[in-house]
């Protein structure tokens, strides 16, 4: 028990030393800074609490997160559904491939001006922007995953006469899931980018709006605290994603580990 504790402690030390050093360095270097662009870390941290109090949390952070969640989930469902459809039909896939490649290659932020034309600058616009940017990585990765389902697995399902719905549920979806998750991960970072950008473009609230607002009104410590918050948000969402992925793909990681060991 003592040895386990020690190992954990050592690992924690390894993990925390560099971040602690970096933060200390930032603190010391910036401490007597008089530059308005890089205020002392002390000041930034002091403004963090008051800046992101309950009011801003409900007014800016929560709406941002709601838009992101809704747009992301919409894209995930649509992307997986359409991806299954396209992936399972060779003719359809061959027909749509060039168009899909083009749509995927569009840098997602350029969707903002187009969608603003249709949907104005309200929540709908932001939701559509996020969803339409997240859609392509999910869709194309699902298509790839479906296409790559192992031939022997397919023949097994056929020889045991699994009907189409069972094949979809017990074979195609799980077999494609590692690839689908790769798409969902790409989509998550695109979704965060689009959440911020759509709010920077035209909005009256949201995290992106708040940060740009601080910058324009030269509230620099507040701006820095916003950058920190956004960074923290990216980190937390990525951790959450990893948690879900580890659970959902436990079999896949086990399989890979067992292959590597042999």
């Amino acid at each position: 028990m003592g040895r386990v504790m020690r190992r954990i402690l050592v690992n924690v030390m390894w993990a925390l030393t560099l971040p602690a050093l970096l933060i200390a360095a930032w603190w010391l270097v910036s401490d007597d800074s008089t530059s308005i662009y890089s205020p002392p870390l002390r000041t930034i941290l002091r403004t963090f609490g008051p800046t992101w109090d309950g009011d801003r949390l409900t007014h800016d952070v929560v709406p941002s997160l709601l838009r992101l969640t809704a747009g992301y989930l919409l894209a995930a469902v649509a992307g997986i559904g359409l991806g299954l459809l396209v992936g399972l039909h060779a003719q359809l896939r061959a027909t749509l491939e060039p168009v899909l490649e083009f749509l995927r290659a569009l840098p997602p932020p350029v969707l903002v001006p187009i969608i603003m034309l249709f949907a104005g600058i309200g929540d709908t616009m932001k939701l559509i922007v996020i969803a339409s940017g997240c859609l392509w990585p999910v869709l194309l990765n699902t298509v790839e995953g479906v296409r790559a389902v192992d031939q022997v697995m397919i023949e097994t399902a056929r020889s045991y006469r699994l009907p189409a719905p069972a094949r979809l549920r017990h074979l195609v979806l799980p077999a494609a899931s590692p690839q689908i998750f790769a798409g969902l991960r790409q989509a998550l970072s695109i979704g965060i980018i689009l959440m911020v950008i759509s709010e920077m473009f035209a909005a009256s609230n949201g995290l992106g709006f708040a940060i740009v607002d601080f910058q324009r009104s030269f509230a620099i410590p507040e701006m820095w605290s916003g950058i920190l918050l956004l960074g923290l948000l990216g980190f937390v969402l990525s951790m959450l994603f990893q948690l879900v992925e580890r659970r959902a793909l436990a079999w896949y990681h086990g399989l890979r580990a067992s292959r590597r060991a042999s």
Binding site: W14, A15, L16, T17, L18, P19, L22, Y37, A90, Q91, A94, T95, L96, E97, P98, V99, E101, F102, L103, R104, A105, L106, P107, P108, P109, V110, V112, P113, I114, M116, L117, F118, S189, I190, I192, I193, V196, I197, M200, F201, G208, I211, V212, F214, Q215, I220, M223, G226, I227, L230, G231, G234, F235, L237, S238
Partner: protein
């Protein structure tokens, strides 16, 4: 399905897509003020192509993209190899990398504005930050993939650091590096356009923003189509380069067979 048939179907799909965009506004299903038909976008595109300022904007975007990518790849490779060769360094930095990597690079937009305003530096900052992690992470994966038996063989024959880089790290890591560069190239374009669009740094993005604010809708669509073609070109180019450079490698050979 034969290659010719695939290409034929693909062309049909493309043609159908263009016809659809032509017909949707013409039949009044979507308002043509927001959604111009293909023909009008094509005219606007031709109009752009005849203007020198379009080409200089395209050049600006490509320079920011290319330069940013170059810096990111160089930094990613140097950092990755360093971390690979010095195990304690890797352990030491792992948590920091895990923390910094998911930070959305758009969080740096206000900082870029303050530091560089609407100059190319703003674009570079965002591009380099976003692309660097893509390269670094792939290089680290690649290094982690080195066959332990090969590693032990190298050590038992007392190969030096340089020989280990040359014969172990490089061949194992190259496919991962190429993947990293391919992903980084796509991300770099996204961030380059974003910086131009949101901050106003010179390039295609700022032209899109101008077209949007002056209600020049067909021009806006034409420019957006150009960014799409640019992205497509980058993707296809990166994949072709990957295939050529790695023709000996299993992952590519495997892909070619299917």
């Amino acid at each position: 399905m034969s290659a010719a048939r695939r290409a034929g179907l693909g062309l049909c799909g493309l043609f159908g897509f263009l016809v659809l965009i032509e017909l949707l506004p013409r039949t009044g299903l979507v308002p043509s003020a927001y959604f111009p038909p293909t023909s009008r976008i094509a005219v606007a595109l031709w109009d752009q192509v005849l203007q020198g300022s379009f080409w200089s904007a395209l050049g600006d975007t490509l320079i920011a993209w290319g330069l940013g990518l170059l810096i990111a790849v160089a930094g990613g490779v140097v950092a990755g190899v360093l971390l690979a060769l010095v195990p304690w360094l890797r352990r030491f930095t792992a948590s920091t990398v895990e923390f910094l990597r998911p930070i959305p690079s758009v969080a740096l937009i206000p900082l870029a504005v303050l530091l560089y305003g609407t100059q190319i530096g703003s674009t570079l900052l965002l591009v380099v930050y976003a692309a660097f992690w893509q390269v670094l992470v792939q290089v680290l994966y690649g290094v982690g993939d080195i066959d332990p038996v090969a590693e032990e063989t190298a050590r038992s024959y007392r190969l030096g650091t340089w020989a280990r880089i040359r014969y172990l790290l490089w061949p194992t890591g190259l496919p991962y590096l190429m993947t990293g560069i391919r992903l980084a190239a796509a991300v770099a374009l996204i961030l380059a356009i974003t910086a131009e669009l949101v901050i106003g740094a010179p390039g295609l993005g700022v032209r899109i923003a101008v077209a949007q604010s002056s209600q020049a809708v067909p021009q806006m669509y034409a420019l957006i189509a150009v960014t799409g073609l640019l992205g497509l070109g980058i993707n296809l180019g990166a994949r072709a380069a990957e295939r050529r450079l790695l023709s000996w490698h299993q992952s590519v050979r495997g892909e070619a067979v299917v």
